[in-house]
């Protein structure tokens, strides 16, 4: 069992990027290429070890979801509180490790080209190292505590990287927004794991699963489950804590691809899969997860339809796809959720990197100022179209298989409403993605720019990701024996019977979306402006992102600040008043009392002598008086 190098050196998987982070930030800061090479080498080490772990899991059928390898060392041991630092290796971890290290490696290589002229070049790579370390530590965690620890660390890295251009006000605001929103969610997560620990006395995933199975306290499980789910609501941008993700696009584009599309935001879904039993044990929790996910998917898709900024459209699309994954977990299919996470990581990273390539060349982000870019950027354009087809769910691209699996499960498990919502989302996804592609890459130029294809360090990762976006879905396609579902599952491997109706309808819906986008933006058979003016209230509502930010602003300005004004008054006049009065009493008594100090030693001596006499009389009185 232990013949694998990957298992033997599992600690190196997260530690290699950490070493890179330390080396770059302490020693190599002045040497640009050395920093980049260090980061790439460390990611490559992690990637190779992860590949070996994946190989082991795929070939050794003794390692299953129900029989993982667990390696752990004591971390904190204070009486009653025992916490381990460990690694839990099962197909879920192996798959996630592969995705994270693979995307990290490609994005790091890509960044060499993208960040070329940036003054913060070395700093960027050191942050990337720190992020990958945190993310991998989170993935291999064998207990909630370790997961929470790294969960916070990825949050920190996200903060650092969103605010990478810290001299821009918008970036500074965005990173604060991301950090604070995530703090709110993490607090719920923390409360959840504290409740679990208090009741079951362990953080370990395996032991908790047994304890939860044995427990009959449904209310407790529901409460803990929902509180833990608050974590993913923040990190994976579910409604209503999604607000930070679109703003997080202020960071450099490779960061958006790595952190805010493929890996960190997917950590929430990974947590849902890892702690699946906690959520699945309570119908309330799991139903809540399903409907919140489904709603987020549709909600974000409707916003994406109206946005103008290249990266923001992708951000809303990420939110929508994360909603899909959360919904998949909620309708009871860990397999479908994780499968979609994997394929999404490929094609969304691909699209973000394409966005980076375009922005790098054009220095523009508004798609209405682009147009016709395809002619000048053939590779980027082709990759973007592949990504678009994959996310829209056109067979045989990756997104089709995973999206199909989710739709199939929704239908098979009787969630008709969610099935319909997901289908509408699929239609909208196809539409807004091709609206983006048609506006940016095709048609005539709408402003003055000179596009040129990006350097090889940028295009090669694009091509690799494009290949994965085309073929990546086959790992879970229904006609593949021993596919994704026979490795990653909950309880027993479960293959929903392929339903031709679902496949055909989802494909038709996607094609319809693309066709509509073509009619509006290429053929110009339907005028977008006319629709916008005709349905102005709806358009404005969607364009302003359902006014969620405004609601938060109102809530914060009126309610939170109002309440804090009350507390401010209490603090100023009651708490401070008491403190000041005490100080005043002491000061005044000091002023009055100082006259007792005459400065004459003889007076002091007299006082002392008098006191001695009084005390002596007091003590001697009973004796002299003959009482004793």
């Amino acid at each position: 069992m232990m013949e694998s190098i990957g298992i033997k050196y599992i600690w190196l998987v997260p530690l290699a990027p950490l070493v890179a982070f330390i080396l770059i930030s302490l020693l190599f800061k002045r040497f640009k290429m050395l920093s980049a090479v260090t980061a790439i080498v460390s990611m490559a080490i992690s990637f190779i070890l992860s590949l070996d772990i994946l190989r082991l899991v795929l070939t050794n059928h003794e390692i299953t979801m129900n029989n993982p390898i667990e390696i752990a060392v004591p971390w904190i041991d204070i009486n009653g509180l025992f916490i381990e630092a460990g690694a839990l290796i099962d197909p879920l971890t192996a798959g996630m490790l592969f995705v994270v290290t693979f995307i990290s490696l490609l994005v790091t290589i890509y960044s060499v080209g993208y960040m070329h002229d940036d003054p913060g070049f070395s700093r960027f790579f050191s942050y990337l190292g720190l992020f990958v370390f945190s993310m991998l530590g989170l993935v291999i965690a064998n207990n909630y505590f370790q997961m929470f620890f790294f969960w916070e660390l990825v949050g920190l890295c996200s903060y650092l990287l969103i605010g990478f251009y810290y001299y821009k006000n918008s970036a500074a605001d965005a990173n604060k927004k991301a950090f604070i929103t995530n703090r709110v969610a993490d607090f719920g997560f923390m409360l959840g794991i504290i409740i679990l620990f208090v009741n079951f006395d362990t953080f370990n995933f395996g032991k908790l699963a047994e304890a939860i199975n044995a427990s009959s306290d449904l209310a407790l499980i529901t409460l803990a489950g929902i509180l833990v789910f608050v974590g993913p609501i923040g990190k994976s941008g579910q409604f209503p804590l999604h607000v930070w993700l679109p703003d997080a696009m202020e960071g450099p584009t490779p960061v958006s691809a790595l952190i805010h599309a493929a890996t960190m935001v997917a950590a929430g879904v990974y947590l849902l899969a890892r702690g699946f039993i906690l959520f699945a044990s309570s119908t309330t929790t799991i139903t809540f997860i399903a409907y919140l996910g489904g709603f987020t998917a549709l909600f974000a898709a409707t916003i994406a339809v109206t946005q103008r900024d290249f990266k923001r459209i992708l951000a809303f699309s990420t939110l929508s796809q994360l909603g899909y994954m959360v919904m998949a977990i909620g309708i009871g299919s860990l397999t479908a959720g994780m499968f979609h996470l994997t394929t999404h990581a490929f094609f969304k990273a691909l699209m973000f990197l394409c966005a980076g390539s375009v922005i790098h060349a054009l220095h523009k982000q508004d798609i209405f100022e682009m147009g016709g870019v395809f002619k000048e950027m053939k590779i980027t354009g082709t990759c973007m179209v592949i990504g678009g087809l994959a996310i829209a769910g056109i067979p045989p691209f990756a997104g089709f298989w995973s999206k199909d699996e989710i739709l199939l499960t929704a239908k098979a498990n009787g969630f008709t409403l969610l099935y319909i919502m997901a289908s509408i989302t699929a239609f909208l996804t196809a539409f807004y993605m091709f609206r983006l592609i048609f506006l940016a890459f095709f048609g005539e130029k709408r402003s003055d720019f000179h596009a040129h294809e990006s350097p090889l360090t940028m295009t090669i990762p694009l091509i690799i990701l494009a290949v994965f976006s085309i073929f990546g879905g086959f790992i879970g396609a229904p006609f593949v024996e021993h596919g994704y579902a026979s490795y990653v599952y909950f309880g027993e491997p479960h293959h929903p019977t392929p339903d031709l109706m679902v496949m055909v309808s989802s494909t038709l819906v996607a094609v319809a979306g693309i066709f509509l986008a073509w009619l509006i933006y290429i053929k110009k058979a339907i005028s977008a402006e006319k629709i916008a003016t005709q349905f102005a209230p709806i358009y404005k509502f969607l364009y302003n992102k359902w006014y969620i930010d405004e609601i938060y602003a109102w809530f914060f300005n009126k309610i939170v600040l109002g309440i804090s004004n009350v507390f401010n008054w209490c603090d100023r006049y009651i708490v401070d008043g008491i403190a000041h009065s005490i100080a005043w009493i002491i000061r005044t008594s000091g002023y009055k009392g100082r006259y007792l100090h005459t400065g004459s030693l003889q007076t002091y001596g007299l006082v002392i002598f008098t006191a001695v006499v009084v005390i002596t009389l007091f003590l001697a009185g009973p004796v002299v008086g003959g009482v004793q």
């Binding site: 100090h597 400065g599 004459s600 003889q602 001596g605 007299l606 002598f609």
Partner: protein
Amino acid sequence: MITLNHYLLLSAILFCIGLYGALSKKNAIAILISIELMLNAVNVNLVAITKFLTPGDITGQIFALFVIVVAACEVALGLAIVVAIYRDRSTVEVENLDWLKW
């Protein structure tokens, strides 16, 4: 016959004289002398109590010697301070030496 009580009475009288002097004299040197008186009252006490209560021992006598030594040091120090104060203030009247106050 002289008993312990006589010694204690002598010591008490000496102590009271010393205390009165220390609290009422104006001259710093007179105060120092009064303190010496109080110390000697204590010495008389020590020696007398040892002689009458534990005749074999000489604990009190030795202790009295210590007190004398300490008293000598104290006087040396005290006079030095008085001289220093005199140089600074041209007076050793304690009424004027009240700058240890508010």
